[in-house]
């Protein structure tokens, strides 16, 4: 596998990472509705699951090699405030728990989505299974 990756052994508890910002446009909303069939009708209202979907991409846009995710196991999520087209979101995340297992390591990450006013609009906890760093050969 080419390219540096961030393995279970590299995960540091409490390290906070803030992503770049992303302005949600009508194109995001239209594409999301077209692909998923979800999301209501009002053209300016951002479907609730769209910021969550965008946060999964923003999570890669931090100064760190991509996390070697083996599987995304689940999450708990709260939607606190509605968003409208034109709002700019960024994500803040930090690992709170890491548990070593034979086939990888479980990492629990707390994530917040914050708008341009600094208001936390969505937040929750993600559980990932992360690969072990391969032994040097």
């Amino acid at each position: 596998m080419a390219g540096e990756r961030h393995y279970f052994e590299d995960v540091v508890i409490g390290d906070e990472r803030v992503s770049t910002g992303l302005t949600i446009t009508e194109a995001h909303v239209g594409l999301y509705r077209g692909v998923t069939g979800d999301g209501g009708e009002h053209p300016q209202a951002v479907p609730e699951l769209l910021p969550l979907a965008l946060s999964t991409g923003l999570g890669w846009r931090v100064p760190r090699p991509p996390l070697a995710v083996k599987a995304f196991l689940g999450f708990d999520w709260e939607i606190l405030q509605p968003l409208r087209v034109g709002d700019t979101i960024r994500t803040s995340s930090r690992a709170t728990t890491r548990r070593r297992m034979r086939e990888g390591g479980v990492v629990i990450e707390e994530r917040e989505i914050i708008d341009q006013r600094g208001v936390v609009v969505q937040r929750g906890r993600f559980t990932f299974l992360i690969e072990h760093r391969p032994h040097a050969t």
Partner: protein, 194 residues
């Protein structure tokens, strides 16, 4: 904008008076009772939404199926920016426990949300406020998924014009295996308005 000029009662629509009814605003923008006595909204949809009082604990719904394609995954990677190898590198994934690329978990969740709207008459939903979700198995290219849902609980909220409806949902593939499951919380309007 004033309507087309006329005196007294508006004549009924017919071939002899096409000019009065030709402008779209006469029909499209004015709410009018339909045959069923319901109000037709601006978008021409019947307000057949179900309010908090009408939803019963234990109700079950099942959606039609939808086949998840490579196109769905590529579009979702482009939309979300999640280009993880799990979803985008066919060669890498051939060596993995899955044997091929798999759909983003959140793509499955979002498709499920879309399928749910086709499973039942729409709720008078004010907001989708939370979920607790587990990814149990992969959704692979060509898999056909559907959603099964059951009303788990109804709760009052601080605001009297709405209530909280919790649904238990399972996403099933063509073999009947549960690939995702969890609970979703929706704020639903009361018909009485509190």
């Amino acid at each position: 904008m004033p309507g087309p000029p006329h005196r007294g009662r508006r004549p009924p629509p017919g071939p002899e008076t096409p000019e009065l009814y030709a402008p779209s605003r006469c029909y499209v923008k004015r709410a009018r009772p339909s045959a069923a006595g319901r109000v037709v909204s601006y978008a021409g949809m019947i307000d057949g939404r179900r309010y908090f009082e009408e939803i019963q604990v234990g109700e079950e719904y099942e959606s039609p199926g939808r086949t998840v394609t490579e196109t769905d995954i590529v579009l979702f990677a482009g939309l979300s920016g999640d280009y993880n190898v799990l979803h985008t590198d066919a060669e890498f994934m051939r060596q993995s426990i899955f044997g091929e690329r798999i759909a983003h978990g959140v793509l499955g969740l979002a498709i499920q949300a879309g399928l749910f709207t086709r499973a039942t008459q729409p709720y008078a939903t004010l907001a989708f406020v939370g979920l607790r979700w587990k990814f149990k198995g992969p959704i692979k290219i060509g898999d056909t998924i559907r959603v099964w849902a059951r009303v788990l609980a109804k709760k009052d909220t601080a605001k009297p014009d709405r209530g909280l409806v919790t649904l238990d949902r399972k996403v099933l593939n063509q073999r009947g295996e549960v690939v995702q499951e969890g609970e979703t919380d929706l704020l639903v309007e009361r018909r009485s308005g509190g």
